[in-house]
């Protein structure tokens, strides 16, 4: 099996249904199709070189950001707008088809994950896989997230940055 598409933590594998492996190009197509995307940004990218890329992506595609863990402080400190939620809180809202969305404009249809701690992120993605047929999930981490609908593969930093750059430019 291709190491790039074994879940980063291999035992996260949950059954026959696995995430689609995406390239920046297919990710871009998903973004283009999305009407109300949302970006969930966790504390793993706090001191990461990719933080700026992620923010650029959000800006370019006009995606509101939810910050999880204590990520809000970093973003706030850098004057980047986000709304703080616990990752379980935001996932709980996302699974409700009737939730009004982060800006009150209706439930989101595409949720990007970046920087959420792998295993709790994986659990959140599992929730959405099972209980949120109304939206798609796409992970932008350098880890293959088999519980997402679509995921980048496992990568080293350099490749990852290139992936993100492509989405940001």
């Amino acid at each position: 099996m291709n190491e790039r598409v074994i879940p980063w933590q291999p035992t996260v594998i949950a059954g026959p249904k696995q995430a689609l492996l995406v390239t920046p190009e297919t990710a871009e197509m998903m973004l283009k199709k999305a009407k109300r995307p949302l970006m969930i940004m966790g504390p793993l990218v706090k001191d990461s070189p990719v933080l700026s890329q992620a923010v650029l992506i959000a800006e370019k595609w006009n995606i509101p950001i939810v910050s999880t863990g204590d990520m809000f402080k970093t973003l706030n400190g850098a004057d980047i707008k986000s709304k703080p939620y616990g990752v379980v809180e935001i996932v709980n809202l996302l699974k409700d088809p009737d939730w009004e969305g982060i800006n009150g404009e209706g439930q989101h249809d595409l949720v990007l994950f970046i920087g959420v701690i792998y295993y709790i992120g994986s659990q959140g993605l599992s929730t959405l896989k099972h209980f949120a047929p109304h939206l798609k999930t796409l992970t932008l981490c350098k880890f293959f997230h088999s519980n997402a609908d679509a995921s980048f593969p496992n990568m080293k930093d350099e490749e990852w940055i290139k992936y993100l750059e492509k989405l940001a430019e």
């Binding site: 980063w8 933590q9 291999p10 035992t11 949950a14 059954g15 026959p16 249904k17 966790g42 504390p43 999880t68 863990g69 204590d70 809000f72 402080k73 706030n76 400190g77 709304k83 703080p84 616990g86 990752v87 379980v88 809180e89 996932v91 709980n92 809202l93 409700d96 939730w99 009004e100 959420v116 701690i117 792998y118 295993y119 709790i120 659990q123 959140g124 599992s126 929730t127 896989k129 099972h130 209980f131 047929p133």
Partner: protein, 788 residues
């Protein structure tokens, strides 16, 4: 005296009997001398509740705190119709859907968790009755009248003797059987009913824990709510390696007590070092303060690898299942002591001690199963004394040069990190070590950031003994691993409750925070200690138990003091209260129950719902199980949830598959019944969640503060609580929290320090003042409450 004698077994088909309106019993004579007594003239509606008796309370909780499921597996593999794929709304061959399946797994975990505690309690109880007789009194002294608040509430009676506890145990066992049965294929079908049963399993768990702990406190004369319980030594460095060392791992105090007794009888106290890991350690130090605590479960593999222990005595729970194999690596002798862990060893219970000792010393047997704690005491001691000298010569851990050589073999495949539950950078540590730099290893070692689960080592393609390397580096570089922990004091005294009851309910003490559970920490035990410190400094009461209590003890403040040295053991503001081992967790719920009883004069007996409702709406307590890992933690959390206490768990807790989350965007969910006025009133999300998994310490800290808010807070109390919440939010998030307006009922609730900012925020959202409730409740109004 007025006595009630519910029949031995709950009557499933007559539960209307117990539920009937204003149920009161006043029989003029003692009908059954054997049973327990009731203290007053009335017993509430639900003594010995059966599986469905508290279902309506559960449904109220579930309505507010909807179960949130995060499936850990897409399939079910419980029967041979399967495995079944439950994705995309598909049902299994038995008809179950993914939601109910997750809930079933939660119920199963809670049943197993409750069984672990309660089988332990039963075992202990029968052992103690054997030793002390069934009439041995449960007397905790002057300051504790309510020895068994959980038994009183659940069973509806007051146990006076060890023997009385059997009735509670019997009841618990029957309930557990019914609950486990519901996990069978083709039984319960709806997730909410699985959750109601999980609540019941959790309640049985709190009951089982209380039975176990009060039995051992009474019979073994452990501290009885003593705030000044002695400080005992803690840490790998506190063990004197020059003596023969007996290590106890597990939870059952009996074998450890057997060892301590033997040493005393033979006057060998100074010759042999007795130490423990996990709750057994805590309980042995409650029995004898000279025993030492190695540390929490995360020390287990490291300490065993260090070779310091000559004899390893395992009893039950939290024991590495490969202990025999690990012990063999450095020729430590292993003694198994309970039916729970037999390890395939020969049963030597009825053999002569001399023979067992000789067979162990000569390695004629792989280890011994000895089911008699007194014999364990003798054999363990004698074997340790015999083999200690020879074992000294064993080169236990690789030396630093060897480590460098081994580390050079690393292929940098990276799999150690991928299989690490916490994705800790083991590879980096190895690679650096290969270059002679041990600092990364030290980082992993300190505070058990690497908790030595051994998965990386299992995976390593070069078979590097990563844990041994880690241990050696730690041994060499981390100096002064000597800490302390206050011996478990057991219950909170009634008099303490009286003292703090008012300030807690009124909010002057912003909350009671309990740090409990295991050390499955995402980033090491320091996080727990820092949280404890933070809340201590902020005037909260901090309670702790189990591995959490040890992790807190392994931390020193800037002045080099442990928190136990710095803060008193009083159940009071800025008190750091170690109740004891896992089974002592019952005293945490117990304290909340006592608040309801002592402060609000709520009768306990058979009165579960009213008590839980009181706690949920009035007692600002919050549990934190930052490293929750096992089924026990699942049942503990679920149990205290049913009692109305919210719990915050660490990120791994998401793998329990279920949380209880509130929805602040749904205002109607927070309405309350004001029992005084008889009106439905607008409430607030307080507490906002019942079971919450936080991603990291910052998030957790802020959430804990928030979860101490209660509808019944006085304005002064609310101010103080909000002040803390805002403070912490500012610290960890940089801002005043957006949702502050939800918790401000009227001007008086606004914390003075933040008055201006908060006022502005209120204005922005068009805030309107609302009335303070008088008697906020989640229960139905009284007329209906009992009648239904």
């Amino acid at each position: 005296m007025i006595t009630v004698t519910p029949k031995n077994k709950p009557k499933e088909f007559k539960n209307d009997f117990w539920k009937s309106k204003n149920f009161k019993v006043s029989i003029g004579e003692i009908v059954d001398k054997k049973g327990m007594d009731t203290p007053s003239e009335s017993v509430g509606p639900t003594p010995k509740p059966d599986v469905t008796a508290l279902r309506s309370w559960d449904m109220k909780l579930l309505e507010k705190y909807g179960p949130f499921y995060a499936p850990f597996c897409d399939m079910c593999c419980l029967c041979t119709y399967g495995k079944c794929d439950l994705t995309a709304g598909k049902k299994g061959a038995c008809g179950i859907d993914i939601e109910a399946q997750q809930a079933r797994m939660v119920l199963l975990a809670c049943c197993i968790g409750a069984a672990a505690h309660s089988a332990h309690a039963r075992h202990l109880l029968e052992y103690l009755i054997e030793k002390k007789g069934k009439d041995f009194p449960l007397d905790f002294g002057m300051n504790i009248d309510i020895e068994a608040p959980i038994i009183r509430t659940v069973i509806g009676k007051i146990p006076k003797t060890l023997g009385d506890l059997r009735e509670a145990m019997d009841y618990m066992e029957e309930q557990n059987l019914h609950l486990l049965s519901a996990c069978h294929t083709g039984q319960e079908g709806k997730s909410v009913d699985f959750e109601s049963k999980a609540f019941h399993a959790g309640l049985m768990d709190t009951l089982g824990m209380e039975i176990g702990d009060i039995a051992q406190i009474a019979a073994l004369n452990l501290p009885k709510g003593d705030a000044d319980a002695p400080l005992v030594e803690l840490g790998m460095g506190s063990i004197n390696k020059d003596k023969p060392v007996v290590l106890c791992i597990g939870h059952n105090v009996a074998p450890g007590a057997g060892i301590v007794d033997y040493l005393e009888d033979e006057e060998l106290e100074d010759e042999v070092e007795v130490c423990g890991i996990c709750c057994a350690a805590l309980d042995i130090t409650r029995y004898n303060k000279n025993a030492k605590v190695v540390g929490p479960i995360s020390k287990q593999l490291k300490f065993v690898r260090s070779g310091v222990a000559d004899v390893i005595v395992v009893d039950e729970q939290c024991v590495r299942t490969d202990i025999l194999e690990e012990a063999k690596k450095n020729k430590a002798a292993v003694i198994a002591t309970t039916d729970k862990i037999c390890l395939g060893l020969p049963d030597m219970t009825n053999e002569d001690a001399d023979k067992i000792v000789s067979q162990l010393v000569n390695e004629e047997i792989e280890g011994a199963l000895i089911l008699n704690p007194d014999k364990v005491g003798e054999v363990a001691t004698r074997v340790a004394m015999k083999i200690a000298k020879d074992r000294e010569a064993l080169k236990l851990l690789p030396d630093l040069d060897e480590i460098i050589e081994m580390a050079k073999e690393c292929t940098e495949c990276g799999w150690c990190q991928r299989v690490c539950p916490n994705s800790q950078p083991m590879m980096e540590a190895v690679v650096a070590a290969g270059k002679g730099d041990f600092s990364n290893f030290v980082d992993l070692y300190e505070y058990d950031v690497c908790y030595a689960c051994g998965r990386c080592e299992q995976e390593c393609e070069r078979d590097l003994p990563l844990i041994s390397m880690l241990t050696k580096v730690g041994e060499h570089y981390v100096k002064d691993e000597k800490y302390n922990v206050r011996a478990g004091r057991g219950p909170v005294q009634d008099v303490e409750i009286r003292r703090v009851g008012a300030p807690i309910v009124l909010g002057d003490i912003p909350g009671v925070i309990a740090f409990v559970g295991c050390s499955n920490y995402p980033e090491g035990g320091e996080d727990v200690a820092k949280m404890a410190e933070e809340f201590l400094e902020r005037n909260y009461i901090v309670v702790t138990s189990g591995c959490g209590a040890m992790s807190i003890g392994e931390y020193r403040d800037e002045e080099g003091k442990t928190l136990y040295e710095k803060y008193s053991g009083d159940f009071d503001a800025r008190g750091l209260v170690n109740v004891g081992s896992c089974v002592s967790n019952s005293h945490i719920a117990g304290a909340c129950i006592k608040i309801a009883n002592i402060f609000a004069k709520k009768p306990l007996e058979g009165n579960f719902e009213e008590i839980a409702d009181y706690i949920l709406n009035r007692v600002g307590a919050c549990g934190v199980a930052w490293g929750a890992y096992s089924q026990k933690a699942a049942s503990i959390a679920t149990g205290v949830n049913r009692w109305g206490i919210p719990v915050v768990i660490g990120p791994h807790g998401s793998k329990y598959r279920r949380l209880f989350l509130g929805r602040t965007d749904k205002k109607e969910k927070w309405n309350l019944n004001d029992l005084r006025s008889g009106e439905v009133i607008e409430g607030e999300p307080a507490p906002e969640h019942l079971l919450y998994a936080a991603e990291n310490r910052g998030e957790a800290t802020v959430m804990i503060a928030k979860l101490c808010i209660r509808p019944n807070d006085t304005s002064k109390g609310r101010q103080i609580k909000l002040n803390q919440y805002i403070d912490l939010h500012r610290k960890y998030f940089g801002t005043i929290p957006d949702d502050i307006s939800r918790f401000i009922r009227n001007e008086k609730d606004i914390p003075i320090t933040y008055k201006k900012d908060v006022r502005n925020m209120l204005e922005e959202v068009g805030w309107e003042p609302r009335a303070l409730p008088q008697e906020p409740s989640t229960m139905a109004f009284r007329e209906k409450a009992r009648g239904k």
